[in-house]
């Protein structure tokens, strides 16, 4: 009698549990899992959105061999790799700012708001301003540079050598505050007693940082590194607004290439192929990082 009551209660728990997560499960199944499979399948077809589904042909690996022969693909890959250069700069700055904000400044609360502001700013709206600031002829930045005596300041987004650095600068400007706050929270979480006992032992500021702070925030560093890597490879809307991949192909990135192929040229099959390659690249990078974390991340 008691046992059947118990199992009835357990059954009720099971049903209730699954009912509660049902909306989310539906969403996961429809949007995520189905999308995953669907995009893989259409990457093997020549679907271009127009026309009936039944006219779509399987083309096997044709899309993929076309992708690997496509100059735009390799340029995009190269540009994505180039953008990785911004990551160490970004993380280093965030760490320095966090250390400074932690102990060495006046007006920390106001500074926090100012450093964080670019992160929550509407990207499309502020990019309009950014583009105008960096306008090669009329913009304030170049006016200022000219007043310093630089007769030919960079043409920024109109110059294939300066477009990527400009975009990288924007990326750092918008995300350094966010990473700084994450680091700040991690640093403030460190047990003060560790520092106190280091002081008793006569440790220098540098020593304390190298032997206490840095190792203890290494999980945070790892987390920020992963976020940066994924974000860097997935970026596309900033490119779409700033340069549309130009000048030439100098700012084409994989994310933007997928968007262009899928939503401008409607080559959905091809675009899905590139998307899956991007997915595999990201998974590969994460696996490498996962392996390497044993060497430098302390838990």
């Amino acid at each position: 009698m008691q046992r059947s009551n118990f199992s009835r209660m357990a059954m009720k728990e099971n049903i209730t549990g699954y009912l509660f997560i049902l909306p989310n499960l539906i969403g996961l199944t429809v949007f995520t899992l189905f999308s995953l499979v669907f995009s893989l399948v259409i990457s093997f077809t020549n679907w271009d959105l127009v026309g009936q589904l039944k006219n779509v042909k399987f083309v096997g690996f044709d899309n993929f061999s076309a992708i690997f022969k496509d100059e735009y693909f390799w340029v995009s890959l190269w540009n994505n790799t180039w953008f990785l250069l911004a990551i160490p700069v970004n993380i280093l700055l965030a760490l320095l700012f966090a250390v400074a904000l932690n102990k060495y400044v006046f007006g920390r609360k106001s500074l926090r708001v100012i450093y964080f502001l670019p992160y929550i700013t509407n990207m499309a709206a502020i990019l309009v301003v950014w583009n105008m600031l960096f306008h090669p002829e009329k913009g304030p930045i170049n006016s200022f540079l000219r007043s310093l005596g630089i007769t030919h300041p960079p043409l920024w987004l109109l110059d294939s050598s300066w477009a990527k650095p400009n975009i990288a600068m924007f990326g750092i400007w918008t995300s350094v505050g966010f990473f700084t706050m994450i680091y700040l929270a991690a640093i403030q979480n460190i047990n003060k007693e560790l520092y106190e006992s280091a002081d008793i032992d006569g440790a220098s500021s540098r020593g304390k940082f190298v032997h206490i702070t840095f190792p203890l925030i290494s999980p945070t560093s790892f987390f920020i590194l992963i976020l940066s890597l994924i974000g860097s490879f997935q970026q596309w809307s900033n490119i779409q607004i700033m340069t549309e991949g130009g000048p030439g192909k100098s700012t084409y990135v994989l994310g933007f290439y997928i968007y262009k192929k899928g939503f401008s040229y409607y080559e959905m099959g091809y675009a899905s192929g590139v998307a899956w390659i991007l997915f595999l690249i990201i998974v590969g990078i994460m696996l490498v990082q996962w392996r390497m974390q044993k060497k430098w991340v302390h838990y």
Partner: protein
Amino acid sequence: MAIKLNRGLISIMMWAIAIMMILPFFWMLLSSFKPSGEVFTYPVQWLPKRWTLDGYQALFDSKYNFVKFYWNTFCVAFMTIVGVVIVGSLTAYAYAKIKFVGREVVFILLIATMAIPFQVIMIPKFIILRYFGLLDTLTSQWIGAFLNPVTGIFLLRQFFKSIHDDIIESAKIDGCTHLRILWRIVVPMSKPVLFTVILIYFVSAWNNYEMALLYLRSLDKYVVSIAVKMFSAERTLNHSATMAASTISIVPLSLLLIIGQRYLIAGLTAGAVKG
């Protein structure tokens, strides 16, 4: 003495950097009050020689009805928050407090899906939305929040787990169903974390550009982020109007940050760390 000098020096540097970081916002704000011809001058001028609302006038006179775009954005943000709070609470509560078979496995699957890049999903999502006739509707913008508000689920579950089981158990003994426990006991206890989740999703709904670009087409469905971009692309001559458009897009969240900085900064960074 040496410590004070150090602190002073570093403060100066940090403030100098802060001023440089905030300059674009100042230039935008001040330029929106200039006559269009004054925006680009050599040498650079900060304060308007003549303060004017011409930019804003041109903005609201144009075919771009920013009042409508504001309204659209608010609707999307509102529905997003409703979705996250309802579905997020239900789902998080189940993962935290209801013991059902396979709970941990399904949860890990949920987490795993976060690794999938948006690019893989964006094309099939387009197809699905088209199939259900949801393309070019505001619904396409907030439906994701109803179906898979991952960050919200994560944060809420974290918090719900910290609630003592005794409270749940004694309510069950009193005959409460899980639903009642959730809405009558757990949710009222969770106001801080709910507030944080609402802030996080409000920010992301307000700033969202990518989903709007992909799934919206008609002008009257535009949200603020898309509208600003389109407006600036067309109105290349009226610079102060462009600055005015950007200003009204950015100011609400900036005010939100200044007022609610504690919640907003803590919430967004915690949401990222835990999520």
